[in-house]
Point group: C2
Amino acid sequence: MSSISDPASFPEPVDLSHYLSRTTRAREASTIKRFYKYFTIPGIGQIAGGTPSDKYFPYDTLEAKVAHPNRFRPTPNKPLDPPPNDPPTAPLAASSISPRKHGKDDPPAARLFVPHDSGVPDPLRMIDLKSALQYGTAQGYPSLYYFIRQFTRNNLHPFVPYKDGPEVILTCGNTDGFAKTIQALSDEWFEGHDPVEERPGLLVEEYCYMNAIQTARPRGMNIVPVAIDDEGMCAKGPGGLEDVLASWDSSKGRRPHMIYTVTVGQNPTSGTLSVARRTEIYALCVEYDVIIVEDDPYWYLQFPSSSPSMADFKPVKSSGFEFLDSLIPSYLSLDYQGRVVRLDTFSKTVAPGCRLGWITAQPALVERILRITECSTQQPSGFVQSMVAELVMGPQSSTDPGKGGAADGSGWKVDGFVRWLEGLRGNYERRMSAMCDVLNANKHLVKAGRRKSLSEVASDDEEWAVVEKMIIYDFVRPLGGMFVWVRFNFSTHPLRKQVPAPRLAQALWVLWTTKPYLCLVAPGSMFAPTAEIRDADAYNCFRLCFAACPEDEVADISKRFTDGAQAFWRIRSKEKIDKLLEEEDKEGEAKTDAGMGMLMGVC
Amino acid sequence: MSSISDPASFPEPVDLSHYLSRTTRAREASTIKRFYKYFTIPGIGQIAGGTPSDKYFPYDTLEAKVAHPNRFRPTPNKPLDPPPNDPPTAPLAASSISPRKHGKDDPPAARLFVPHDSGVPDPLRMIDLKSALQYGTAQGYPSLYYFIRQFTRNNLHPFVPYKDGPEVILTCGNTDGFAKTIQALSDEWFEGHDPVEERPGLLVEEYCYMNAIQTARPRGMNIVPVAIDDEGMCAKGPGGLEDVLASWDSSKGRRPHMIYTVTVGQNPTSGTLSVARRTEIYALCVEYDVIIVEDDPYWYLQFPSSSPSMADFKPVKSSGFEFLDSLIPSYLSLDYQGRVVRLDTFSKTVAPGCRLGWITAQPALVERILRITECSTQQPSGFVQSMVAELVMGPQSSTDPGKGGAADGSGWKVDGFVRWLEGLRGNYERRMSAMCDVLNANKHLVKAGRRKSLSEVASDDEEWAVVEKMIIYDFVRPLGGMFVWVRFNFSTHPLRKQVPAPRLAQALWVLWTTKPYLCLVAPGSMFAPTAEIRDADAYNCFRLCFAACPEDEVADISKRFTDGAQAFWRIRSKEKIDKLLEEEDKEGEAKTDAGMGMLMGVC
């Protein structure tokens, strides 16, 4: 690889056009540029384009009350002593974030203002309704596109080791971004219609985000799980990436040429992939010509308090921000061949309802996705594009009547956006800590009232002495994201011999929904990409999310969860299980099916 | 067909599942409903879904300054005397719309306000940021979805003659709606890969909106043009729909099973299809099992001043509004089999940058498109959904702090939205009138200074007498939309024998871009769906749009257009043509290619 000091000497990204789908290849490139000269003739009367008059838009201005970037308190960028499973409660206590109230208790806010006409002539600095609410370009609203492009190239991923670096295109969120990526890079395939040797495959984590599967599977893609450990996808070992690729059985289709992966705070297991592991996997992708689609909505939610070693990584090139430098970098930072397609979203940094994100990849791929965008979404809504642009960029000249998200009326700028991310990470890290502390304190079954004196140990009642020390579930404190993945050990349940473990798991799920436990958790089967994994293992696992419930209830709901688990391990009658599952048995299907996945499929 | 008084006796829509694409068939239906009961348990602790906390969205409120529904002056719903090509100038004069200025001259406006929390518990009446900026359902934001569904079923299309009527789903505009429709209803096909008898076809107007073609063609679809007349698609006669379907040559692929059509103010020809023609075409679609995809962004822009006969139509069932009742109804009003998929958009009623529209069709098809939406766009942006919902619906209870678009703080309501449409129609009808009056007054070539006395007629200078009366172009005054389609007759040009007509057309296009004419028009070739049409006829035509330029310049730009045409017909030297095309000749390709289409492809 070339010297960091001379990016022009980086290798060209490799040509991936052999992986373009037939549809994507057939899309015509735009020869737009040669016509610009006519459009910019001074005084030209425009009666060619079919755009409506911006004078007829009913919105004269868009405005908002918006947070200052420092609304929330950050957590430190470096891990703290003592070690993670006994963390200090003070710095991570969830106490100091003022809950939002309306009226005089409102947290300080700025007045966002998007004018009808900014008076700014440069499209890259123009934020106004006459342009944002008009037809636009598929790259994205020019000013926002340009901000995101600079932020991506200079701050998020300052080191991408191929010539001239990546290009970006705005999307309507990561589900849209993934749908376009997969449409660009794989042909539809159908059993009985297309030859098996053409069947494309998608490599995924053994437990993964099902919306991606639901996008790929109806296209006929082979969904190929790869073994995971606490970090995420395994490179080596049985079922790891190398094993899957090297031993590929081509009677099942083509050797998969794409990975879909969530590398930080993986959904659902919360795995966070180290740089060492990324390096191993990237090398395999080079060897086997595999494209990595990296979907990283939780990337900036990395929790140093969970891992003293995580922050040992030192970036090749600084982003200019201590916070960003402390994050495990994207696969892009290793991508000397241009085989990484990264999906970013505002869903977790601003709001899911934005439906706003972006793809970062080598320019030739982005150009093809641009063509797909022209004939589908065209661009994200101008309402969100202009309001996010104004939030971060603010007015662009002394006469621009726009107002941004900073206290002085300017935009958040990159500094403010990074500060906002730090505050969010702080909030989620405190929540994570609150949940994990409760989970950790209650994972052993304690049979109060049946404790025996030491002299009784090894009597005929020995079994109880064992049970009293039993861990009924375990989990790894997440290094990132919004989830805790809890794995139960049903072989320790008193009814293990009378009731099959999947049925115990189902009954446990129902018990949690009853008083006094009252909590709704996501069953592991929702995240099993294949029927084999669902039937063999998924019932042991549950995904807990510390992001959705009110902040001051995280600990309490977590306690109800652990109380429910404890109570379930005290059930010694099969009839009680049957009673819990009475309604479910009537309805015929397992509860933990795709339906629940759909219900939460967007999350 | 059944009695209008008993919609329950209407026939069930026909089963169109034989036309579903393989991908669309493979999408799993959601079994979501059976889980609702768990989500609604009082006090349930939600740690299942992976949604972020709405307290962490940086937008506390969204606000706007918005037009009152009566900002613009309507035109009459009934045609006026005298006849269209000599219209009265007074009632349609473009004089009384105040141009938008900032400051004290601003037109009256309301203050829109979307609160963080409306306090309204019913999702169908909830308009606030805690819900709109959260993950949502693929149908659309519930309150807006429900408003649009009612408006569509009760007001826009009060009579749809199949049992229980149509369903709707929100889209990110009509390009998105069409992309999803075509994905639902046709398989991808590729020469050399798939058997020719599987090749799907799309019937389109002889000149049509190219973005639709650019969506369909890369999927391998056969683009099949159907002859048009001034109304739009022809049912009978050579090249009409019946002729194309009855004489289908299956060596070119399957007989086409879909029509893509713009039925009102067609883009580019501005044709507007009568009810009689719709009835003929619908009957053919029943006979040949064809699905009609009706894309009607200009539907409410129907111009009675252009057509004394247009408003003769009497609706089967009233919408409750004189304005809506006066409009030629959608194909839906004839759709007793449920084979119409209608695409509606806010692009021309609110703003193109909304990226917001909806599909109306039989419920079984809408359900499949819902599945596609779940794995692509998910939902339109919550920014635009909440702001449009608040505009039209306003606060939903006495304690809801929201504010809508009406002067008293309530929403526009259906009345206000219809009034807004009437005002827009008024604006565009006045623009149309201004342009067409100029075009009509200047279509004859007048050779001033060479006029001869009557006694000289039939002398050896006879040719000039003929030229003096010559029509150099013609057009039909549009019954709807934003365009005038102008057809030139290059066989009357003095250089007709030295320069091929396509080259004359190209030179004319360039002449218009030069001083003093300075106008940019869309060449007909941009709208030719096949190379045959492009080469045989398209060069004769140009599309003029009266919507994009400033209102008070419509007449002036139109005059520059006619001056340019007149001047071009006075060019008698081939060298002048060569000089005009010098730069174009250098660049090699014809200007009127796909590039320009891309540039204006979204319009």
